[in-house]
C-alpha cells in the first residue's frame, strides 16, 4: 500500500483512495462562481501547455478537443436522438 502525502486537501486525483473520494470531491468542489472559473481556467492552461503550446505538436492536441466537442454535443442532443432508436425495448 502506498502512503500518500499529507492532508486530503493537497492531494491530486491520482493519489486519492476510493474510500476518500466523496470527501475529496466535496472538498474540491467550487464554492463561489469565481472558483469554478478559476478551475476551468487552470484546466485549460494545463491542457494547452501540455498538448498545444509545444514546438512540435501533433494532431492530438486539437483532435482531442474536437472529439470532446463531438461527444459533448451528442450527449446534449441525446433526448432528441432517442427517437431514432431501432428497438422498442432495451
Amino acid at each position: 500500500m502506498l502512503c500518500f502525502p499529507g492532508a486530503l486537501t493537497q492531494r491530486r486525483l491520482g493519489q486519492v483512495t476510493l474510500r476518500e473520494l466523496p470527501d475529496w470531491l466535496v472538498l474540491k468542489s467550487p464554492r463561489r462562481p469565481r472558483d469554478a472559473i478559476d478551475m476551468v481556467q487552470r484546466g485549460w492552461q494545463w491542457y494547452y501547455r501540455r498538448y498545444i503550446d509545444v514546438k512540435k505538436g501533433g494532431v492530438g492536441g486539437v483532435a482531442m478537443l474536437l472529439a470532446g466537442y463531438c461527444v459533448l454535443s451528442y450527449v446534449w442532443t441525446y433526448p432528441h436522438l432517442k427517437r431514432d432508436r431501432w428497438r422498442k425495448y432495451h
Binding site: 481556467q41 485549460w44 498538448y51 509545444v54 501533433g58 492530438g60 492536441g61 463531438c70 442532443t77 432508436r85
Partner: protein, 271 residues
Amino acid sequence: MSFNILQTCARLHYAFCAYLPSHVCPLLVTANALKSSGPLGAGLVQASRSLQTSSQSLAPVPPLPEKGGKTRHGIIPEELFQFLYPKTGVTGPYMLGTGLLVYMLSKEIYVINHETFVAASIGGVFIYAVKKFGPQVAAFADKLNEEKVAKAQEVKDLAMTSLTQAIEEEKKEQWRVEGRSMLFDAKRNNVAMILETNYRERLHMVTNEVKRRLDYQIALQDLHRRMEQEHMVNWVEKSVIGQHHTSKESIAKCITDLKALAKATQAKATV
C-alpha cells in the same frame, strides 16, 4: 415536440460537428494551433503570458517543450495505456474500447441514424487528409517558426556584436585616458618654453636698447671731440697761414712751439 433552447443549441453543435467541413480550413486551424498560439487559445495565451508581469519578468522565458503529451491514434492519451498496462497488458485498452463500443451500440446509447454515416464519411476524410498532408503542413509550420526564430536571433546577434564593439571602444578610451598625464606634461613644457622664449626676447630687447643709447652717447662724444679737433686744426692753420711766414725756420719754430703746446695740454689733461 418541445425544443428548449439548450437542445436547439446542442442540435446545432452536433450538426456543426457532423458537418465539419473537410476542406483546408480546419487543417490550417490545426496547424496554426499546433505551432503558434492559434485561434483556439489566442485570447488565453495572453493570460498565460501574463505570468511575465510578475516580479521575475526580467528572467529569460524558459523554452517551449519539444514535444507535447503523447496520444495514440490521435485522440487517446498515452497515459490510459500506461495506466492499464500492469493489469491488462498491451491489449487492455483496446478490449476496453471494444467492450464500451459494443455496449453502447447494443443498448442504443449510441443511436445509428443518418448522421452516423455523415460522421463516418467526414471522419474518414479528416483522417485521410491528416495522414496525407500532415507532414507537409508540419514542415511548413516548422519553417515559419524557424524564420521567426532566425529573425529574432539575428536581431539579438546584431545587438550583441554592437554592444561588444562598444565595450572594446570604451576600453580603448580608458587606455587613452592613461596618456592624459603625458599630454599635460607636454603642454606644460610647451608653456614653459614659450615663457622662456619671451623672457629671453625681452632681455635681448633691453640689452639692445641700452647698447643703442650708450652708443649714441659715445658717438656724440666722438663727434664733439672730432669737431673740436677739426676746428682747432682749422684755426691753427688759418692763423699760421695768416702770419705770412717768409722763411723755413720760422715755420719750423711754429711747429716746435705747437708740439710743445700740445705736450703741455696733454700733460694737463692726464693730470
